[in-house]
């Protein structure tokens, strides 16, 4: 096994709930303010996943007060407490960047049944 792999395995989360592009998720983010810790929930659609192993990240898009917001999260970061899947989406591409120019009814995703 390569030496880099040894180090990476130590930092990888083993219990990541599988989710895919098109899913609607709730991301629980740990926010540290001084010694206090609180959890902020960010809900939206996963529109992209990139990278492999420890460096995997995913992009979550939501519409906040009429304005599109996208946040990129590293899957294995300590700041991500958990990712909750609310709804599985049925999509035909790996990157849903086309959602950026759609709004309202057109920007909906079909649910996988």
């Amino acid at each position: 096994m390569s030496l880099i792999q040894l180090v990476e395995d130590k930092h990888m989360k083993k219990d990541v709930e599988p989710f895919g592009v098109g899913d609607t998720v709730k991301v629980h983010v740990i926010i540290k303010e001084g010694d206090k810790e609180r959890i902020q929930v960010y809900q939206g659609d996963v529109i992209a996943k990139r990278g492999t192993g420890l460096s995997t990240t995913f992009t979550v898009r939501k519409i906040s007060f009429g304005i599109g917001v996208e946040r990129i999260f590293p899957v294995h970061s300590k700041a991500i407490k958990k990712v909750e899947v609310l709804r599985k989406g049925k999509v035909r591409r790996s990157k849903l960047y086309y959602l950026r120019r759609l709004k309202g009814k057109a920007a909906r995703l079909r649910e996988e049944k």
Binding site: L6, V7, H11, I30, L54, S55, S77, K78, A79
Partner: protein
């Protein structure tokens, strides 16, 4: 290189270095050699296939197998060190600063834009000046090229030291040192690690 996460969950760039074990092959003494130093040999997984007779004799005194890499280090540490003793990665601790010296990647013959960060000229609109160095000296005065003027030439394959890298963690079992940031040289290159 790889990445890791700090306590806040921010991703940070990391380099994994196989650090040792290193055997003390020879002790240089003030009265005998004129200076104090330790000669360390890096023990690798693959042994040297057919060591030369001269090397065999040199390694005999410390009763250790012949190693490919031998380097001398100044030693100001506490405690008596004998020939044949070994150093492991546990001499470094997470949070400490280290200097890493290596040989940078060779770039071949490089022009002034790449080698000295000259700006170069415009690519189009009939500019006629692209990546050339420009004037290197006037005709009547000084009518010569000043010594040390930056020009194209061989770039890379230099001894480079990156100072004050933070140790992120150590792995005693596999003798791995993980430092924050990049170090000189290609993957699999040999480097020297000093405490800052």
């Amino acid at each position: 290189m790889t990445q890791g996460f700090d306590d806040k969950g921010n991703s940070i760039p990391l380099t994994v270095i196989k650090a040792g074990p290193c055997t003390v092959i020879q002790k240089k003494a003030k009265d005998k050699d004129g200076y104090e130093a330790l000669q360390l040999g890096l023990v690798e997984e693959k042994a040297v296939k057919k060591p030369k007779k001269a090397a065999q004799g040199h390694f005999k005194k410390s009763e250790s197998p012949v190693t490919k890499v031998l380097r001398e280090f100044h030693y100001g540490g506490q405690g008596e060190v004998k020939e044949g003793d070994q150093f492991f990665v546990d001499i470094f601790k997470a949070g400490e600063k280290v200097h890493v010296t290596g040989t940078s990647k060779g770039k071949g013959f490089a022009g002034v834009v790449k080698r000295h960060h000259f700006r170069g000229g415009g690519a189009s609109h009939g500019s006629m000046f692209h990546r050339a160095p420009g004037s290197i000296g006037a005709s009547s005065y000084p009518s010569r090229v000043v010594r040390g003027l930056r020009m194209g030439g061989h770039m890379g394959y230099d001894r480079v030291t990156v100072r004050n890298l933070t140790v992120f963690e150590t792995d005693k079992e596999n003798n791995l040192l993980v430092v924050k940031g990049a170090i000189p040289g290609p993957n699999g290159g040999y480097v020297l690690i000093h405490k800052a």
